[in-house]
Symmetry: C2
Subunit: 346 residues, 2 copies
């Protein structure tokens, strides 16, 4: 259909008639390298030649093979990103901002979800590294030793998101989870709570949640409060939040405030309170984390901690882009902070 019968295909492996750069070159009567240049730096080919090449590409429906290009140039246009799950608004918003920003700069995002599993993470890191990405974005700063070793060995920019508590592998952008927990504790104690408790995420690798929990407990202690009871929940969904709250009330009926390490958990707890006839915040104060949309809409409106999800994605992209363009960024750790949002629930 397209061959002139001049040269039989040497290895004959191609599935469908994928158009190659050499086909374009032949039609445009130039050498392949000129076609390549026309794609990489159109300014370096004569306008007439350029038009001829473009016409040829158009008429053949040429789609450059980026895999071959990457191999030859040793430069991919890909950034790998790993999240625990997308089914949570924080992560989705962060990744959305990241991809949007990176796409604008001509970079593609290779996305993987670890499901809060360290071994899945290691697997994905290994595989993704195999694509020789230009950079890698991870969620959180806790990774298996092997993953950390692999990542440090490759010498590409690495950005860890949502957490800035400790020294990053390379760069980090987020906020301090422990400080957020402490802020919530201070707020609750100042409101006169006597017996605070916490609903936390049971998954061991959700160290962000664990940090918030830790910061909360430490601050309660510092304020001289009673040791907070804590109930781990896994999976950390609405039903889990509801069940967790019921368990909590059974274990310690005197609890008068609950810090839920995520809004989802808090919303589930709020539902349980409604069912049980527990008045919020009069009898029980409830504070969430993440400032999700539903939290602002329920009644009583959920008090929570706002975190800059989209800004984190934007900043991660910016840090990567800066590094790739040679700037040895001044700040390797960017703390975007958080903000306590006091509404009706506590």
């Amino acid at each position: 259909m397209n061959e002139g019968g001049l040269g039989p295909k040497p290895r004959g492996r191609e599935a469908s008639g994928a158009v190659r750069m050499s086909d374009v070159a032949r039609l445009a009567q130039v050498s392949p390298i000129t076609v390549s240049r026309c794609l990489q730096a159109p300014g370096r080919v004569a306008p007439e030649t350029r038009d001829r090449i473009r016409a040829a590409m158009e008429s053949l429906g040429y789609v450059p093979n980026l895999v071959a290009g990457t191999l030859a140039s040793n430069r991919s246009r890909m950034v790998a990103a790993l999240v625990p799950t997308l089914a949570q608004a924080n992560h989705a918003a962060t990744i959305d901002a990241l991809t949007t920003r990176l796409n604008q700069a001509g970079l593609q995002v290779l996305l993987g979800s670890t499901g809060y599993s360290d071994i899945a993470e290691l697997d994905l890191v290994r595989t993704f590294l195999g694509y020789r990405p230009q950079a890698m974005v991870l969620t959180g700063v806790t990774h298996s030793p092997e993953a950390a070793r692999l990542l440090q060995g490759v010498g590409i920019p690495i950005v860890e998101t949502l957490e800035t508590g400790t020294t990053p592998l390379d760069m980090a952008v987020g906020f301090q989870n422990a400080a957020a927990g402490a802020t919530v504790a201070r707020h609750l104690m100042a409101r006169g709570c006597r017996q605070p408790a916490v609903l936390t995420h049971g998954a061991a690798s959700d160290t962000r949640a664990a940090d918030r929990h830790r910061g909360f407990v430490a601050q309660v202690r510092a304020c001289g409060g009673v040791e907070p009871l804590s109930v781990p929940v896994d999976p950390a969904d609405l039903a889990g939040g509801a069940a967790g709250l019921e368990r909590l009330l059974i274990q310690a009926s005197g609890v008068d405030a609950v810090f839920c390490v995520s809004d989802t958990l808090a919303l589930g707890a709020l539902m349980a309170c409604r069912r049980l006839g527990v008045a919020v915040p009069e009898r029980l104060a409830l504070i969430g984390f993440g400032d999700s949309e539903p939290g602002a809409l329920v009644q009583p409106a959920l008090s929570t901690v706002h975190v800059p999800k989209a800004e984190i994605g934007d900043m991660a992209a910016a840090m990567i882009l800066a590094r790739l363009s040679g700037q040895e960024s001044a700040s390797r750790v960017v703390d975007l902070g958080f903000r306590l949002v006091v509404r009706d629930s506590g």
Copy 2:
């Protein structure tokens, strides 16, 4: 640090000391092809050799270059997926399910977001095709003619999600948006609404929303109702929903029911009603679409249409996997349906 000084690197382009398959081969005293086999089909190399190779890989920290592998074998392990935005729970949930399922099968997802723009979509399609993915997942069935042409030309499985109204490029999984709109209309008319209206998404390329709108209007007509007024909103967020509702009430104070083409819009409208003192559903019935989490939690709880977001992602993955394993799937279009969820708001 690692070279024995035997052969100078021919082209000397490598950034950092990336370990190559030949390095592993040399250390394990086999030829590169045996290392390759050890990775692809461990069963075909002798156990002893295998152990030697694995030890070598381990000690060198070898990470196979998948780019080279893809080029040589003409088979990538990647699936490309395009969504309008991830900042909306439906899409995030669908993609989450898709990636999880595909990752399990050893496939990676290359993710792009089009921001509801056809030209961004075309751009992404072109670029992604350059990576020679094994399959492609798109949102909706409406694409620019060039994109459609490109996609049909490549001969890989294509799955269009969230919409099954028309003939797909290749395969489709979702539900019928127009039918969903009609169902809402029937419900509202049966409840005795006299003057229904609709809050719709203004973005021209959100044809799913437009279909729901169309189906709704057609059904109202079929039921002999008055022609529904419609107010387009863009962007379709909470604030937009609130503003849209106010505009609607100004334009037609007699409206007694509003179908919002998304839950987000409906939630915004509900907030406006609270502010304005409009009783829902007594004075105004409100129905959303998508069955988002907040909708179930607000008061009055939002009536809406449930769609199987995660199931769509799962099914898309399953369809791709089936096709890749050679099964010429019986059904190219899978309608997973929807379900009217009547709660308090209408």
